[in-house]
């Protein structure tokens, strides 16, 4: 099913490598975030999360805390 567009959160990150991605995967798992993808082919390594409850700031805080850059993609 297509997600509700207002539930899609988008971020510009520097989650570049496979190692970075597996680290973030653990973080996501720990916080029960299931619907997430990273476009590692893109310069902005866009992190895309579908969640009706998460807030932009929460994700930014979570990713930054783990040592990566993360800002809202506009």
């Amino acid at each position: 099913m297509e997600p509700d567009f207002k539930d899609i959160l988008l971020f510009k990150t520097n989650i570049q490598t496979a190692d970075d991605k597996s680290l973030i995967a653990k973080v996501m798992e720990k916080h029960k975030i299931k619907q997430w993808t990273i476009d590692q082919q893109d310069v902005d390594c866009v992190l895309r999360i579908v969640s009706p409850v998460l807030k932009l700031e929460e994700v930014i805080h979570l990713v930054s805390k783990n040592g990566y850059q993360c800002e809202e993609l506009i």
Binding site: K6, L10, T37, D39, Q41, D42, V43, V46, R48
Partner: protein
């Protein structure tokens, strides 16, 4: 939440509602860009620039570059294969059926140049299997049935599907390719006219019919 924040949030969510015109624009521009610069050079940033929208808007619709290419390819392959089956009945005589196929295919490709070139490009890419594996099965079944009917009725000899396809359709595809290029072998100028099309069809018919 203060009222200004709330209003801007409301406005943003309204703007994010799927806009069909925008989706169509993205699809068309994506194909044009992919045909022009290839799968490797294609990026979401370049596409966003072409469409004069933000990269974020693209990521609302698609997860990543592969998702975008696959979704568009599947939709277009389905649309084209439906159009190619229009008014086509696998039970009619071989000559009538093949003629309808030529008519449909020529029309489809000539009226959808970018899509035709995009799908052709896809055939030699790593995306090919996922797109053609599932989506065009009805198409393959109908056309397979048509060929087997013609064999059963004794209109054409028994042959492998690949052999049949190469004789029945490859000449048409090649003429369309020359036409799109505007030139044929050795740079000779070329335009596909109705006469050229149907003269070639007669030759193909002669080759296949018993």
């Amino acid at each position: 939440m203060n009222i200004h924040l709330y209003l801007s949030w409301k406005l943003e969510s309204r703007m994010r509602a799927r806009d069909l015109n925008k989706v169509e624009l993205v699809r068309q521009k994506a194909m044009e860009l992919l045909v022009r610069i290839g799968f490797e050079g294609f990026t979401m940033n370049k596409l966003a620039k072409e469409c004069e929208i933000s990269v974020a808007t693209l990521y609302i619709y698609y997860k990543d570059k592969d998702d975008l290419i696959l979704q568009i390819a599947k939709e277009e392959a389905q649309r084209m294969s439906n159009a190619m089956l229009e008014d086509f009945d696998p039970e009619v005589s071989f000559e009538v059926g093949l003629k309808q196929q030529w008519k449909n295919r020529a029309k489809c490709m000539l009226e959808n140049k970018i899509t035709a070139q995009f799908l052709e490009q896809l055939r030699t890419s790593t995306y090919q299997e996922e797109v053609y594996g599932t989506i065009v099965s009805n198409f393959k079944i109908t056309l397979g049935k048509f060929m087997h009917n013609a064999i059963k009725k004794g209109e054409i000899n028994e042959m492998q599907l690949e052999v049949y396809w190469s004789v029945a359709f490859a000449p048409l595809y090649n003429l369309v390719r020359f036409h799109f290029d505007g030139s044929s072998i050795g740079g000779r100028p070329f335009v596909l006219t109705d006469k050229v099309l149907w003269d070639t069809f007669e030759l193909v018919l002669k080759a296949l019919k018993k």
